[in-house]
Subunit: 199 residues, 2 copies
Amino acid sequence: MATDRRGAILEGAARVIARRGVRGLRMEELATEAGVSTALIYYHFKDRAGVLRHTLEFISDRADRYTSGEDGADGDARTGAPQDPRWELEQSLLLEFQDLPEVRENSTAWGELRASAVFEPELRGDLARATLSWIHDVADLLGGIRPTAPAPALTASAERLTGLLEGLSTRWLSGALPLPHARELLKEAVALEIERLSR
Amino acid sequence: MATDRRGAILEGAARVIARRGVRGLRMEELATEAGVSTALIYYHFKDRAGVLRHTLEFISDRADRYTSGEDGADGDARTGAPQDPRWELEQSLLLEFQDLPEVRENSTAWGELRASAVFEPELRGDLARATLSWIHDVADLLGGIRPTAPAPALTASAERLTGLLEGLSTRWLSGALPLPHARELLKEAVALEIERLSR
DNA sequence: GTCTATATCAGGATAGAC
DNA sequence: GTCTATCCTGATATAGAC
């Protein structure tokens, strides 16, 4: 749980970003949040942009962790038993729609980074890499469900599902879409894509 | 084309926001862009927040205008002839994926607005209203294609399509998704939803 | 209505001690 | 590695002349 200062700063940054947004991140508020001085932040991360970059990395690692089931909500991961692939896909997508602090932080920060990348090209590289690997993972899960579907079709489905997820997520976080409804919409989309891949 | 200063400021603000984002809008850059002094901006709009409010209003009015076909890309709107409903639906969605300055400006500003609403609850009201009416319009178009589909199913499809559109739009604007590919993905999603509604 | 200053201040960044 | 203190840029906003 990061007793080291560096880790504490990153965790603090994730919380502050979730609260204020990337553009609302103030070095001093972050210092207070993490219980350190501003100078220490600069010592570890060079400048504000450095904080942002490393926080993005930190967040996507964390998302990988909870997405790949190590601490799945149902504890099913403890049994080494192979999961139903469709159930696994749904879970991995629906995990993003939970009202838990860590999930909310990740979603918020992710949305912020995505939105910031529109104006800050230096963020795009990492973001593109993370997105690509996410799409790839989802395509793999789809491939587990429809082994005969051609790769490009799997990728396209994964792009739509993850794109929809991002769109709905922002609506959720901005209070425009209740969580259960978001989950319903996404589940139905999964059903449609799976059906499509069997043709 | 707004020869008056006030209009020039709003047009300039739309351009600057598209370039720098809502949070990157600097009063001085706006002044230069619009060819006026900063003092004049404050004279007309009171403060930075005032500029933002009026610009967003300006932008959503403009989006209504081009979305409702007055200057459709093909000029088909001049003939009073009833359009093919599916073609009409695709057009109205794909209009958001064009690399024209005005469209880019509107999409960018809309994305910014949506992202800002996550942290600024006072923006949520207008945004929710606009979103709802958009969803309603799309559901109507879907109803024109599948007249027998029940209303809730139409709404759900419209929510998914508009949600996907927003998600893909941000990816496009952040350089993660080429425009033609975004269009393909969206078209296929339309096809899937229409097919679904016929069951 | 519009401009040329300029006051004011927040916040990013650094120096230097420990 | 970490802190205290402080500098200084850049951005909002205002005063006052025309």
